[in-house]
């Protein structure tokens, strides 16, 4: 069964549940990276809250039937955050949790970068930056060609790009395309964690005001604290609400939610550091991170 989409902001009980989910995803993701000893810690940690709110509230999915044609689609265009996606998919029941320990090991179903042929619940193979975002536009277009679901609801495609990824020209080719074709069933996020491999986004390639750019490209643009579950939930609801600028056929602007995030959020030794992008991360690092998480909330 595909879950219904929420029509009101999350209650405090629902937010508490989302917090537990986010914590569980963060922990499982770090455990999987620690089992290997190295991985994309930074960009995985910065999207954990967004994934929790999407998978446990807004994506319309059927984890018992990953290929259900009526499902929403999700494209992790910043494919290097695969470890966070796999932890979210395991939390959602797509994968056995033990599978997370196979991350990046030979023959695994969980490769560093997301792969639609290997992992249940993954809708698009990504990793060469900018490409997933174009594909998400094509998916949104294809879903719109199918018309609304039998219950009248919109088939949506959701996607997450990075702020470093936004250096790619293909992102802006797709940005123009989605606005031109009024893909209002596309909801995108920029994980603006302010770092890329070689340093801060300001120092490597300063893209200035991202939200202003998306607005100028004709997107319905929002900006929110990417670690604030309640604010995330309310912003997503707003992004999915009818667009006042929609045309007679109900086609409005695609939505871009710029997430202000902290790279390696929840891992104090790496938080806000460029070197967290793909970092050595072993059992001792894991233990330190879990201890820090315990200080914020008791270990569940």
């Amino acid at each position: 069964m595909i879950n219904p989409s929420p029509d009101r902001p999350a209650s405090s009980a629902e937010l508490a549940d989302l917090a537990v989910r986010a914590r569980s995803i963060r922990k499982a993701c770090l455990e999987s990276i620690a089992a290997l000893g190295v991985g994309h810690v930074g960009g995985s940690m910065s999207v954990v809250e967004a994934l929790a709110v999407l998978y446990f509230r807004h994506l319309r999915l059927d984890s018992g039937d990953p290929k259900n044609p009526d499902r929403d689609r999700f494209v992790l265009s910043k494919g290097h955050a695969g470890p966070a996606l796999y932890a979210a998919l395991a939390e959602k029941g797509y994968l056995p949790r033990e599978m997370l320990g196979t991350l990046n090991k030979g023959g695994t179903s969980l490769p560093s970068h997301a792969d639609r042929l290997r992992t249940p619940g993954v809708d698009m193979s990504t990793g060469s930056l900018g490409q997933g975002f174009s594909a998400a536009c094509g998916i949104a277009l294809g879903l719109r060609m199918d018309g609304p679901r039998a219950d009248g609801t919109v088939r949506r495609c959701w996607t997450v790009i990075g702020d470093g990824e936004s250096d790619e020209g293909q992102v802006w080719e797709a940005a123009a395309f989605a606005a031109h074709y009024r893909l209002s069933n596309l909801v995108a996020f920029t994980d603006a964690n302010r770092f890329q491999i070689d340093g801060s986004t300001e120092s490597v390639m300063h893209l200035r005001d991202l939200a202003a750019k998306w607005d100028a490209f004709g997107w319905r643009t929002f900006r929110v604290d990417g670690h604030d579950l309640g604010a995330l939930d309310r912003t997503i609801l707003a992004a999915c609400s009818p667009d006042p600028e929609a045309d007679a056929e109900g086609r409005g602007r695609p939505a871009m939610i710029v997430l202000d995030t902290v790279k390696a959020k929840g891992v104090p030794a790496l938080e806000g550091k460029a070197e967290s992008h793909n970092a050595p991360f072993g059992p001792a690092d894991l233990e330190a991170a879990l201890e820090a998480m315990d200080k914020e909330a008791p270990r569940g």
Binding site: M124, Q131, S134, G138, L141, D146, A176
Partner: protein, 314 residues
């Protein structure tokens, strides 16, 4: 038989198929006028998308459409389809296991007045390096129509190398085609001319006629798909004649000539090989198609000379 404009055959075939197959869509990158897909756009405006001058997004959007269950045919000049959007086609379409038909128009010297910047003499080499990709270059309108149908039904991606200009019909309406199956257009016992695409198959046939006049019996093979290559047909003819001339509107590196050389070497077939195509160190340039075909030694006299040399040693 009559010449038919290849691009018109492409557009007409898609428009016809789209009537009964709602998955078919056409994606263009500001070259719809060149590809000639206007009739499709008119018949199915809701399945026709122009992404503007943005080839990376062309292939990305097509890949997304495929992921959503559609069957996209994305077209641009072959130089852009291969060199410019290669990573997108490699990963988003092929690595992702989707079904995208990428159409590269104006291959090789057919780019003519667009000149060296637009002259793809390496697209086949690039595409041959993509695992599992079918590469088809039809020799006439009838086989083009078949290629579109076969690509539509294929599990996996297809690169359709398409010269837009008119080409004479070689095959009758009842002819059947299969990817991986070459067509023997003319038997011959002295040498085989293995050619790819309308331009080169045409030149190879002319060369075979002139060779016949001087007593050399040349077979002509329409290769049809470079990948999968009809290994059995090539090996059989190479064994029987001991001499093979590959003919491609492409550089001699990485395309048909290379594929045949690999095959002969691996199978230990003692056949002599000559490769017709632009030189390994040559870029394209501008001119009429006829001037360029002569400039890059793609014409019937050059093919005949290469065959003669293999047969007679001079």
């Amino acid at each position: 038989m009559a010449d038919r404009e290849m691009r018109a055959v492409y557009a007409q075939t898609l428009t016809t198929l789209a009537a009964s197959d709602r998955r078919i869509c056409v994606v263009e990158a500001d070259l719809a006028r060149a590809t000639g897909t206007g009739p499709f756009a008119k018949a199915y405006p809701d399945r026709f998308f122009n992404v503007g001058v943005a080839e990376a997004n062309l292939v990305g959007v097509a890949s997304g459409l495929s992921a959503a269950g559609k069957r996209p045919f994305a077209a641009t000049f072959a130089c852009f389809a291969s060199r410019r959007a290669y990573d997108q086609f490699f990963l988003s379409a092929n690595y992702a296991g989707l079904e995208v038909v990428l159409v590269g128009t104006d291959p090789g010297v057919t780019a003519a007045f667009n000149g060296g910047t637009h002259m793809p003499l390496e697209d086949l080499a690039l595409m041959r390096a993509v695992p599992g990709l079918a590469i088809v270059e039809p020799a006439d309108p009838v086989s083009l129509e078949a290629a579109v149908r076969l690509a539509l039904d294929r599990k996996g991606c297809t690169y359709l190398r398409l010269q837009r200009k008119p080409a004479p019909e070689i095959y009758g309406p009842g002819e059947t085609f299969k990817f991986g199956k070459a067509k023997l257009l003319r038997p011959g016992k002295d040498v085989v001319l293995a050619a790819l695409g309308a331009l080169m198959v045409g030149e190879a046939r002319k060369a075979a006629e002139s060779l016949a006049a001087e007593g050399i019996d040349a077979a002509v093979l329409d290769v049809f798909t470079l990948a999968p290559l009809d290994r059995a047909a090539v090996l059989d003819l190479a064994r029987r004649t001991g001499r093979i001339v590959t003919c491609e509107n492409h550089r001699v590196t990485g395309g048909l000539g290379s594929a045949v050389a690999e095959l002969l070497a691996e199978e230990g077939v003692p056949a002599r090989l000559a490769r017709i195509g632009a030189g390994a160190d040559e870029f394209g340039e501008v001119g009429t198609q006829d001037w360029l075909a002569e400039r890059f030694r793609l014409t019937a006299p050059h093919i005949a000379a290469a065959a003669r040399k293999l047969v007679k040693g001079v």
